[in-house]
Symmetry: D2
Subunit: 392 residues, 4 copies
């Protein structure tokens, strides 16, 4: 039995896949050792949207942009509405709102898990403000990542911190509108080194279960212990109806935040296969990038990342589900593996070039961007001011 989807179905799926780019990836980033500033980097949220518009223009697949508060803070509620309009004028929409409760001096020992109730209150207020901003931007998703944790055994009470976390999440959850969701991100370590308060999918999942249907887990592909099988987690969360989405990036070691698919393209393919298998292309899961371009040019790195996700998705869509199911049912290990590998070994770049051409886009986004002159233009024009970065 051969049930490889016909090419038109595959193309249709690829045409509708939307990958959200993060505003902060257009700005400067680095390691604790050094942030290497790049010429032409945006200085304002609007300039980030200008860059994001180029990514969407050349890929046709990046229609939304995630904001990070306060890095993309507008002065007023009206400011966000204007920003949303600015985005729309460039063919974009504003996406998830990412909270930041890790860069104020108060947060040294945590935000919503801090032993000091005053700090917890401050952090909670910020989260609630983010929901206000969602109302203004029309965003669906509130993405919550907490840097909370401890560096030394005994530093704080692990269990009490969970109580504090649960309390804060419940308050924010109550504030969500009918069509809004809360996405809880987990991370094994960094910036805290002994415990993180949400270190793994199980912890995020346990909190989501208590909160309700609008709370879901977000999988950052760089946030796991070595050896963790990420596609297994994806499969499980989809089965539980709890996969809120992805923060895509790749890593060789820890949270390297390299371009999606750069370190382990086979893993990205396996993840996308489980997404396809589990109905995740249509489940409302958000496909977001979250990466840092420390040594490479930012806009083309994001274009490349979008393309990498597309290629992994194309390969996943090409898996012959019927042949695979047959081999699996027969316990034929090699045949089943071969069906999967056949799709992975396929060069899908011509297929994606066709999809782009059919959508009126240049078949080679990287070349088109290079030719566009945008890279030089922003270097020339964005002079003075303060470049965007993690701290600004």
């Amino acid at each position: 039995m051969t049930t490889r989807p016909d090419i038109s179905t595959v193309k249709a799926a690829l045409r509708t896949q939307a990958i959200e780019t993060p505003s902060w990836a257009y700005g400067n980033s680095g390691t604790r050792f050094k942030v290497f500033a790049q010429p032409g980097v945006p200085r304002t949220p609007r300039e980030k949207l200008d860059d994001a518009a180029r990514v969407h223009q050349h890929t046709g697949a990046a229609p939304t942009v995630a904001l990070h508060i306060p890095w993309d803070k507008c002065g007023s509620s009206g400011g966000y509405t204007e920003l949303a309009t600015y985005a729309e004028e460039r063919g974009l929409r504003l996406g998830a709102i990412n909270s930041n409760v890790f860069q104020d001096d108060d947060y040294k020992l945590g935000s919503v898990c801090n032993p000091d109730p005053a700090v917890r209150r401050k952090a909670l207020d910020h989260l609630l403000e983010c929901v206000d901003i969602m109302d203004a931007t029309g965003s669906r998703d509130l993405k919550l990542w907490f840097s909370d944790g401890t560096n030394y055994p005994g530093q704080d009470d692990i269990r009490a911190r969970q109580d504090r976390l649960g309390e804060a999440l419940a308050t924010v959850y109550e504030r969500l509108g009918d069509h809004q969701r809360m996405l809880i991100e987990y991370k094994l370590f960094e910036p805290a080194f002994y415990t993180m308060d949400v270190p793994d999918w199980g912890t995020a999942y346990a909190h989501c279960l208590k909160l309700g249907e609008k709370a879901q887990v977000v999988v950052d592909t760089g946030h796991h212990a070595p050896g963790t099988n990420i596609e297994f987690i994806v499969s499980l969360l989809l089965r539980e109806g709890k996969l809120g989405g992805f923060d895509f990036n790749s890593r060789f070691y820890a949270d390297d935040d390299l371009m999606a698919g750069a370190a382990d393209p086979f893993q990205l393919f396996r993840i996308m296969y489980e997404v396809v298998r589990g109905g995740g292309l249509d489940s409302g899961a958000a496909f977001m990038l979250d990466q840092c371009h420390n040594v490479e040019a930012k806009i083309p790195a994001i274009i490349r990342s979008v393309m990498n996700v597309q290629e992994a998705t194309a390969k996943a869509l090409l898996v012959d589900a019927g042949a695979l199911g047959e081999a699996q049912a027969a316990g034929d290990v090699l045949a089943a593996n071969a069906v999967l590998m056949d799709a992975y070994s396929t060069d899908v770049r011509p297929l994606l070039a066709e999809v782009r051409e059919e959508a009126g886009i240049d078949p080679d986004p990287m070349a088109a961007y290079r030719r566009s002159g945008w890279a030089q233009k922003i270097v020339d024009e964005r002079v003075g001011g303060t470049q965007s970065g993690w701290g600004a």
Copy 2:
């Protein structure tokens, strides 16, 4: 504020701590490369109990013995009752029943998750038989570890395997008596190398939640990805009322199954601290050993392991909870860490020697065992027959 428990309270807690030893640790074990047989190793379940009785005699802390089916299979239901009587006559009780659905040729592609329904049925029947055995032995806990998984991407449908797993667990759960529990164990890898069907605490927890109150998670300290913070998981499971117990052992790399506390005594202390902190000494959680003595003599290795758990527990009980809480509330990182480390740095061997002497036991279990002549006796007497091991 100083609230270090007074010594009599600490001693009382140590006196009542019971550590279950596993029947299989008395038999031969090894790696895939070689099982080095040791002279004097038991040939029957009764001889394993004879050895276990020595461990309990010298430690006073190992009153129960876990069985492994079929390694400890008795011919009939009556056989288990007789084995239980045999144990009682030696001051022991039979503990958890451990199922084994990984050593029949049928199980090459899994047991309850196998694509073949006939194999699944066979595995399920074995699990149900284990509950029958529990009825005969009076055991409270059914410990379920599944070696199920896949070695290659595509080999089987990850999600369908979860469905099959859930179905089997539900059937076994229904069969449990009122005072019986099901403990679900998780393991990152080995013997399967691409996916394990229960790779992490989150997966075990999600199944337990669906099953009901009698299903709980068991934490094998060797079954995690590198860098995983195990005491965090322990704290979380206690908070959720889902910590069924431990399989203690230690490791430097993967599932090394070394003596508990041998590789990282500080980690064992931190785990026991979270147990004490979370009420786990009195919650019904089972403290079991699950280790392999590949190159060292088995009985004294088990005595040493029991002592290591006791020492970690003693140190955890000595933590000055009041001083710790104060330092934590004040955000004094170094002071809070120092309170914990003060307990850890304490040499608790004299305290445990006192506890033993007060209980009428030799203060030095290792020396007492050496002097007892048991090691030579079993070498002399256990001649012929087939030594117990993982395959027998």
Copy 3:
């Protein structure tokens, strides 16, 4: 500048690439939990060669077979000569001789590093016997892997063990003939769990330096700590003239011994790129497989592994060295990465099919093997006797 080698050069390189298959991969293997025997598995070294001949017949790329002593022990020196003749009659040659000093009861605490001089002597004698066998088989390479190590801190003197190791290696080195080499393998852990006496490439390299030019390092791709960059090591060893060869296999976790290229095909490509870059295709480095087929059929798994190495090599050969060098010199991170990824993304299966057809071989080795009926034939004919495996 475009310097992608022309296709005929690439084809020529692929045509001459020889991958050595290990006799033991044709026999049974498993984990410490269970060895699942497979019907049709060879019972003698000759039957292993029969199977290896099929692999070479269908791939044209596996002309040599590594032996493992004592698993492939022949009664006498003449026996090896006869085995070599048997191989030649099937179009094969005997390859590396692999010593085994880990399966006798004496070796519980090590072989050449054992604290007991009598055991060390016994192990050394075995190693010297392996050189005798090399003389008889005409093998060039003696592959030395030591399972030696310790399980517990303090168990033995780490440094004294190095002294003992160095002494044994020097004695064996002296015994080597002019055209013979000693390949020293390293492994992070397993079967020893606290220390391995040759845990990393640095240790193997340090010993090789002292021994002389005939001693080189062999890289088993599954023997590294998580996160280790293997291609870096390969590049370094080639630069130092110390890369003796590979034991190819793949892994997700520890020493999983899965089919080469199965777990991380991109890594295998990166390794082969460094081999090509460093002249390793012509340096005398041995390309060996060392893997276990625990759940999959063995012969087709080996065929697949050979093909995976070929595909990785083909992609590595297709890298446009000129364009890559230009982008690297210009510091253009994205362009340089793109050149490499362009080769990796290429579907090289048609190219390899051509190479095979031009060599008069079926373009699809897996299908040809399936059609050949060999799988059924060995099941029918190899009845009775003792199947080969790690212990026999």
Copy 4:
């Protein structure tokens, strides 16, 4: 045979142990997410020395301070001489000179391994300048850590980078005076994420061998892959005469840079045992701290770290070498392990208190520092100016 060194010998060794503290640990540090500034942090090299003097005053064990160039840059050669005098007046000496070739914008793609020869030249000049500074300060050791590496496969030529590295090292080595040494540090990852140019001890060792006797390897305890046995490396380097020293710190995950001994005190003990065993206390190896105090007060954290190294050393010195050797020779795994663990389980705090009292120091350095009022004094007095940190 009992050969535990008598207490007076142990005390003598402890009395002479010197631990070098790093100037930068007195300043601010953090993660890529945030640097939490602390009040009272030094603003100048002299203020760092003032703080270091307190550490030495209370511990008696921290007589030297490592400098980091340019963070401790003085305007002129005379400036360093004055700084040395300033140190001497406070009972201190200046220690190792640490180069910094990672924070200029030029170094985005590396320093001495950069594809651009002009950048390489600049980096080399800095290294040579560091030797000039050593001449002025009288420092023995030049510590070289290179952040050089690549983030993406293909980004640069791995092998060519080794050539460039070797060339730079050779030039610097030539410049060293008779009594000066070059210590080469290795690190698995961060800030580069695909390759580091000196990722492991083997690479550092290979370069040292080529350079000559004055080049040695420095072991930063946080710079290894998960599961690496660091004490094995220490033992090996001592055996090869190539252990230049340590950068002590501890970690749970990656390069956490927590206080030495905080994450795994047993590991620190095992390392110090191999140091003692291998003669490393008298070999000229430098015992340096290299850690970051992101959330805890800096001076007491350094005092605690010094004490942790002392405690590990004391335990290592207490190992009964005779009993250990006997048990090892007899192959008695449990007895040998027990000898080591007996020393580890000992509470050595009273012993160290005695050593301090005998040296005229307060037996409790932490309490003495707390009572001294220094913490408040520096908060009050160090107002204005720019706090020291990694970037200043």
